[in-house]
Symmetry: C2
Subunit: 246 residues, 2 copies
């Protein structure tokens, strides 16, 4: 039990250290979050962030979630996916309005860190603040690439690009085996993320299968030819900042 709690802070440290190396003292300070709870949410439910007791910063431990925005008439756009190791709501202390929702794709487990205490800690631990800012900036960079993706690429390029991005992020999170990874998104999710219709997503996936670029079934994705898929998508990984540590 204690061991498990300890490993949760370990998750936190690991996520923060994706960009900066923390000092021993930073790590000791983060130990105060040992007692923070691990929460769960079922698939397809919102991680309601509004009007919730003391605001928390969530660190996703298991499962997939997404950020999304709705239009009054029901149209929905997924504006980002969240995989294990990603933070939600880093902005909750600065921006008062939540401009989007966060929904669980699969059942999720997340570490709920009181955001006031986390932000208080950053006052004396600038490297922690920088790590949190870095995560926010990477999210922003991914959003820009999505704008390019949805605005300019064709359907097949768009889907290919999204699949490569998710595969690389999952690989960085350490949850892939060879070129295969769990892939819980439905074709409806892919449609909402790419601005296409589910029907057209279906035909596009079949085209990618026919060309032996991917295998996707039973919630499992295999990239059969990374190089060709990247080429088709005109994929340039630099926006993911996957190796930018200093």
């Amino acid at each position: 039990m204690v061991a498990q709690r300890f490993s949760l802070v370990g998750h936190l440290v690991a996520s923060l250290e994706r960009c900066v190396r923390l000092s021993e003292e930073d790590r000791r300070a983060l130990e105060q979050f040992r007692g923070a709870p691990v929460r769960e949410a079922p698939a397809r439910h919102d991680l309601a962030s509004e009007a919730q007791e003391p605001a928390v910063v969530r660190l996703l431990l298991e499962g997939w979630a997404c950020r999304y925005k709705d239009l009054p008439d029901g149209r929905r756009q997924i504006v980002g996916f969240l995989v294990p190791g990603d933070f939600c709501d880093l902005n909750v202390h600065v921006l008062h309005r939540m401009d989007h929702s966060i929904g669980a794709i699969t059942p999720v487990r997340y570490f709920a860190i009181p955001s006031d205490r986390l932000h208080a800690l950053t006052e004396n631990h600038p490297r922690v603040a920088q790590a949190l800012l870095w995560h926010e900036l990477v999210t922003s960079s991914i959003q820009r690439e999505w704008l390019l993706n949805i605005g300019q690429r064709s359907a097949i390029e768009r889907v290919a690009h999204l699949l490569v991005e998710l595969y690389l992020r999952l690989r960085a999170a350490g949850v892939t085996a060879d070129e295969t990874c769990g892939f819980p998104l439905t074709q409806i999710d892919l449609a909402d993320a790419t601005g296409l219709t589910p029907v057209h997503i279906n035909r596009t996936l079949q085209q990618l299968r026919r060309e032996r670029l991917i295998a996707l079934s039973h919630r499992e994705l295999t990239i059969l030819d990374v190089a060709r898929l990247k080429q088709l998508a005109m994929f340039d990984a630099s926006y993911l900042q996957l190796d930018s540590c200093d």
Copy 2:
């Protein structure tokens, strides 16, 4: 001359105070940037940010610019517009790679603040740090709305939404008169920003004119019916965070 320099720091303070009120001491510390230069760039030129001598944070003083990303084959997506009072490159110190370019739409004048000194200042002035973070988060929020816009809205809704956003931002920047504002974007710019073709932008603008929602000619835009235009675009201004000061 000195008076002019002083007013430049005034611009900086004003932009920072769009979200938090700075202390007298914060303002005094910002006085160190009095000597920072005002730079100019001609229309349609990049504000090249890479490989440039000491990195700077730019505060746009006059003119319009845009963030954009290119595809190898020449397709271009504008991922955001910058109007007077906006910062460019706040992330330059955290993310080492620049994942996008910044181009001047009109001739621009900007205040070039040495980013190392600005970031050093934030160590002792958390409210300045928070103000910079706030600007970055608003940019991110706008990007999410653009994803919704491009991914889900029809051509006419998309253009209407963009026009309302720009009008409101310009009004907040204090550069509108009644419902009219200078509007230097070409139809090609609008196309690159919305993911449509210039030809279709043209037809869409004509439709908006025909319905007496806007007047647009000679680089001047008038919103003839804000309420109906917002309704058409399903516009909800909260993502702009225009009145969120604490």
